[in-house]
Amino acid sequence: MVKYNIIDMERTPRIGHLIDALFDHMPEIEADRAVLLTESYKQTEGEPIVTRRAKAFAHICENLPIVIRDEELIVGSATKVARGCQVFPEYSFDWLEAEFDTVETRTADPFHISEETKKTLHEVYKYWGGRTTSELATSYMAPETLLAMKHNIFTPGNYFYNGIGHVTVNYGKVLKIGYRGIIEEAKAERAKYGFEHPEYASRTHFLDAVILSCEAAITYAKRYAKLAMDMADACTDAQRKKELLTIAMNCARVPENGAQSFYEACQSFWFIQMLLQIESSGHSISPGRFDQYMYPYYKADLEAGKISPVFAQELMDCIWVKLNDLNKVRDAASAEGFAGYSLFQNLIAGGQTPDGRDATNDLSFMCIQATKHVLLPMPSFSVRVWNGSPHEFLLKAAELTRTGVGLPAYYNDEVIIPSLLSRGIAIEDARNYNIIGCVEPQAPGKTDGWHDAAFFNMCRPLELVMNAGADKSGAEADGVQIGPKTPDVTTMKTFDEFFDAYKTQTNYMLKLLVNADNAIDMAHAERCPLPFQSCMVEDCIGRGKSLQNGGAIYNFTGPQGFGIANMTDALYAVKTLVFEQKKLTMAELKEAVEHNFGEDISDKMASLLTTKEIERLAAQGKPVSENTIKETFKRLKSQGNTSDFQRARYKKVRVLIDTVPKYGNDVEEVDNFAREVAYTYSRPMETFKNPRGGQYQAGLYPVSANVPLGAQTGATADGRLAFAPIADGVSPTAGKDTHGPTASCNSVSHLDHGIASNGTLFNMKFHPSALEGQAGLESFVALIRGYFDQKGSHVQFNVVSRETLIDAQKNPDKYKSLVVRVAGYSALFTTLSKSLQDDIINRTEQSRF
């Protein structure tokens, strides 16, 4: 007796056509939303902000151009051209205006922008000066914070310049009662407030905004109903005509009302998903437990004989394609950090029910199948693994891994659920968790998690320790005191003294990070509350306030630290070589690090640093001659190395550092030390509070920022050269884990993944041969199980040969659809910048199967 109906269904031709159409055009920037938003804002000056937001949303829903693309079964497009993007000037705009002429040719995530769009946006932008969240946030920040940000200690760029996103709304509720039901709920709630209520004004305005937003969503769908009807009238193909009529009927009924079929549920889901991304530019709007909230509709249709598994699969495949139709333009620097046009719409299958039973169902398998059918970066597909997960489910997931698409990511319930409980989340909600964006767990429909709130570069505080709080290394080195004045390292007598200095620098910088995030948080509450999003997260309606004002049941801010592996190896090398074995004095080490271990840096980097230094000299009114420039370049290029003798001395230090055991090789002492190093970030983090009444929680993952932020960081005492990438997530430094995948897993599992309740990220790369045959799949699943037994929280895999990647780098045209795992997500390899491509190629390839 088989429990699950696992059918290896073929992909229908339609899906292939829809995918081809996605890649017909280069992604393009469209101005319609910005124009409509601005029109509305100009008419609502002086009204409460939440009202203005709802009116603007309504104006957009009523007027945004709509299209139904060829062969679509699920409709609703944010842009006229597939994979296009709208822009969101209410958050920030000047970066895009500055990049109008480069956005099409930049290396990471280029977008086409027409001259006409440039002109339109230029006009629109005139309104927005002084009105954005980013400007308000800046004015809320302490000067010390701005200084630390200028020096690249951390970057809250994500929310500083964009919407928040990073939410999983209560899809199930909308599927069930429709926006009409939510309107009724909001009206009932509104009726409770008498005129004398102290918060009458704010709450009723919020609830009115909710009602208006829901009506707008209904209007938007009805426009599609009409469009489909018109297209059906004009359609000569009988089959397509029938499809269009069904689409018209679907859009007339949902999302206004509760879905009455699986097809309606799919269409309703899609309107929710895309409209959330019209209201705000926040990414990581994560569908979450699709297999759970969609299952009742599938089951009912199946039992009633109203749907075939094949058609249900095709509908899901259509949704999977649509998730790739949405796009977002980011500034050039952020694009490097979130490379791959990714919107991080994380969808998860499997796991447990709120009452703790296994939740796997036929749709869980069909989610895997859909991902296999489309092989596209979206959705960021994840699976939950717990002690009771069916083996066949994991094998099916492993088959997907074997395709090399970098999906799914595997998550361990046995770590994540207790971790969420420790943050005050109720057991039923914790068991119901899903993943947001990259790797961030949360309770769906009840959380405003602010996951991804900032990147904190754990290497930078060590650079500050070496120079007693002054920035003398890295890309912004100007000798300015930006951190506390910790003691001169050359006078330190014990490692504890050194480690304490590291903690002192870190703690100070973390407080500034909190200062930055809280300033941004306030700016969003003040300027960009989101009534539409809020109405689908508990308990905004009950509390009468938006998510941005603290309406969610669970509130967090989750900034992520990265560089664990580098800091473990660096601090461990200092401990071993300088303080225990005394093979090296601190002065010798400091000198070698300052001189980049006797190595030059790239011309490109040297030019960049030279420009910055010359600008500083000019700003100070100092004379700058041709010769000054030449000398500066020479000095920076050589990193102050003047003789071969000197270089040899510094290189020897690096060789010595290389002999010290490294994180990632199952060396108990080193791995336990890594745990302590990770605590320097995660422990202070949990003591901070945000303005929404929630706490901070640490994440340990880098998205893809380990590459660009590495390029801001000087040499580190683990032997990492200046401006080289930093290790990704909690993974060992590339090339330093030399004892195979089990050793890497064992090392990584030594960290306390539970305290990093905003998620940890462990990247492994396998050669395809590693998963060959049934035995390969079985061993692969056993590896994941073994790692999870030891309380690892997350793991993901790149299964692609080094040769393939190198070839793809040389012949991008041949590999347009090659998907690789980047960090918490997969992306098209050829769309990544060269340096990120190199980083992926260089990550250790575990091929020893």
Partner: protein, 265 residues
Amino acid sequence: MQTDNSIYNTRGRIFDIQKFSVHDGPGIRTIIFLKGCVLRCRWCCNPESQNWEIETMLQNGVKKVIGYETTVAEVMKTVLQDKPYYRRSGGGVTLSGGETLCQPEFARALFTACHENGVNTAIETTLCAEWDVIEPFLPLIDTFLVDIKHMDSEKHREFTTQPNELIHENIKKLAHAGANLIVRVPVIPTFNDTPKELHDIAVFAYEELGVREMHILPYHRLGYDKYIGLGRDYPMGDLPSPDKDKMEMLRRICASTGIICHIGG
């Protein structure tokens, strides 16, 4: 793990420990490579395993010492690091070499320690030893991975330096004793890669030994650099590896006898 027991102090000479191997016995395994071998197979891809003496080999231009003395306790420390993966995969430890049977006391102690710690055991052996040496291993080993290289003793001697009578006698005794046997055949062009040679081996394995499963392993040249690193000539010259089609053809021929035959471990 108890270490006061004398078996944990037993000393032996190994040259490598390789984790996460899935081709040498069931599940995820740790392979211990023992130093010293009685055969000198021309195709051997681990030439550094052959001599008992500790030697140096150039690896990527760096001198590396091959072989070191260790104890069962030391080895077990490494072995037990991967216990979670053995448990999940049904894997364990495989002793390989070199020839494990050249260090019988150490190997027995290691296998005993594995079983004491609930770790599955396997051995990769030439079986080129007196039966008196082999017999005590019977209760200690869960899976025997045994080569049958050639049915013709003279050719066997020519390519491995040893005749096959003793080896085949031992295989029969093992089979008779009910040991869990997996037969493996390295497929070496010019040595044993004709359909007839493979077929003869399959018949012997299936009909005479009653073995259910055999693996045919294509010759590969991955050992080349090691010979050079040891300052030795590569005995196989420019001989190419058998291609996929050929291996598949040979697999079918073996399978035609009724035995289950896989390509690769």
